[in-house]
């Protein structure tokens, strides 16, 4: 699994960092998404999918 994030689309809601803080973080200054693990495995795979779905701004894409 591969994920891509788009900080320009990001609204800084923090849903991704809340869902899986090992895969996603937020930028200190503007709160936008920071991708920690572009290829999550195991339980993080499911969490990353959920984060992509929850993202209010459509800033997370799951590539198979």
């Amino acid at each position: 699994m591969k994920i891509e994030v788009d900080p320009d689309r990001c609204a800084g809601s923090g849903m991704c960092a809340l869902t899986d803080p090992e895969v996603f973080d937020q930028d200190e200054s503007d709160g936008t998404v920071v991708l920690l693990q572009p290829s999550p495995t195991g339980e993080h795979e499911q969490a990353a999918r959920e984060a992509a779905h929850l993202c209010p701004a459509g800033a997370i894409r799951v590539l198979e």
């Binding site: 609204a11 800084g12 809601s13 923090g14 960092a17 503007d30 709160g31 929850l54 209010p56 459509g58």
Partner: protein
């Protein structure tokens, strides 16, 4: 067809905790239906989860204040095009203006920042619970706990003197009261604006380690912009969480099995908070968006300029998304609920609200193992007359 054209937003709740029953019927038959707004505009009402999510996420639906028709009826409101959002009032703007303002704040509301606030929030909660115990029985949980805790937290974050809370709490109540006339609301709004504007001006001279000072220090914003951004955070930051704490406590007291489960396993609180947000959906009128162009959605065409009223409460009770939607169950996964909205305007303070609720409910039920209502449940005054639902007072006993 004429019948649906004349339909107004249903507002009569079937029970204290359930949204109007008509919304459920609409969701089944016509999840996007024609609705007549109080100003005569004929727009749309969305009641299903899927469409509610779609409208919020679709940037062809605008949040610009001057394009909106409100589902809330305000006495004496002139029929007119609404003015555009004031500088800094970014809730009523689209990109790029909305983005520019919001990005100045999102760094302050990250999950990590909010987690760092937890010890201070625990302290504020503990002090208010101790004071409530000391004040004797019956206590009003709203006045002693639910309202002051989030008020104090947002005051400290923004840099608003807490001892000046009475005026902004009263004026916020006027903004939200469905009995307020248009003139009452305008006057309350102007007083609030002036209050925050004076604060913003003071921050030039006496800056503190707070958000208003931080916004002033960017040098990118006028005092008016800082004031309106601050006002938005102040109003949104205390009444919403306050009402979730108040009505959430009542709901849990009315469901002893759920409360017992939470007490037995306090780690359920994160999940319980999401379920409370889903189940209660306290923003009575939901949200509105206006089509910037003709948009095909849910089998209809929303024409350019038509406003869509989104019933978050109905969407959060959609059986297509949540099994047994009308059952309150703190163990279910309510993640994905629309209680904080969806799309780029999704609640900026949601991570703060989550922490306040997690800390607040956990401490309340731990410190008061015998907490119970001091009046019959049917005598609790529900906020049917306010734009944000909840309880006006919650008389409790605890010894």
């Amino acid at each position: 067809m004429t019948e649906t054209l004349n339909a107004e937003l249903p507002s009569q709740r079937s029970t204290a905790f359930d949204p109007p029953a008509e919304l459920g019927l609409l969701r089944e038959r016509e999840p996007i239906s024609r609705m007549k707004f109080p100003d005569g505009h004929v727009g749309w009402l969305v009641t299903s989860y899927e469409l509610a999510r779609e409208v919020h996420a679709d940037r062809r639906f605008s949040s610009r204040a001057e394009l909106q028709h409100s589902p809330r009826k305000v006495k004496g409101e002139p029929i007119r095009q609404r003015p555009p959002a004031k500088p800094g009032m970014f809730i009523g703007m689209d990109a790029p203006d909305h983005t520019r303002y919001r990005k100045l704040l999102t760094g302050q509301f990250t999950v990590r920042r909010m987690n760092q606030l937890m010890p201070r929030i625990e302290q504020i909660v503990a002090e208010h619970l101790a004071a409530m115990r000391a004040s004797g029985e019956p206590a009003d949980l709203v006045a002693d706990f639910a309202l002051p805790v989030p008020s104090m937290v947002i005051c400290e974050l923004l840099g608003v003197p807490y001892d000046e809370r009475e005026s902004f709490q009263q004026d916020t109540a006027k903004l939200l009261s469905l009995d307020s006339s248009f003139d009452d609301i305008m006057a309350a709004f102007e007083r609030l604006e002036e209050f925050v504007l004076q604060l913003a001006r003071r921050k030039h001279v006496e800056p503190g380690d707070d958000m208003l000072s931080g916004l002033v220090a960017t040098g990118e914003l006028t005092d008016e912009e800082v004031a309106n951004m601050g006002l938005l955070l102040l109003v949104a930051g205390h009444e919403t969480t306050a009402n979730m704490l108040g009505i959430g406590t009542l709901l849990l007291l009315q469901h002893p099995d759920q409360l017992a489960a939470l007490r037995a396993d306090p780690s359920l609180v994160d999940n319980a908070v999401e379920e409370l947000m889903r189940y209660l959906s306290i923003i009575q009128f939901g949200t509105v968006r206006t089509a910037l162009e003709d948009v095909e959605i849910g089998g209809v065409v929303v024409r350019e300029g038509e406003t869509v009223s989104i019933s978050v409460a109905a969407a959060n009770r959609d059986p297509a998304r949540f099994e047994r939607p009308d059952e309150f169950d703190i163990r279910r996964s309510a993640v994905g609920h629309l209680g904080f909205g969806h799309g780029v305007h999704q609640c900026l303070g949601q991570q703060l609200a989550r922490i306040e609720m997690r800390v607040g409910f956990t401490a309340l039920f731990r410190e008061f193992p015998d907490l119970r209502l001091a009046v019959p449940a049917e005598d609790v005054k529900m906020r049917t007359d306010m734009a944000i639902y909840g309880v006006h007072e919650l008389p409790v006993e605890f010894s």
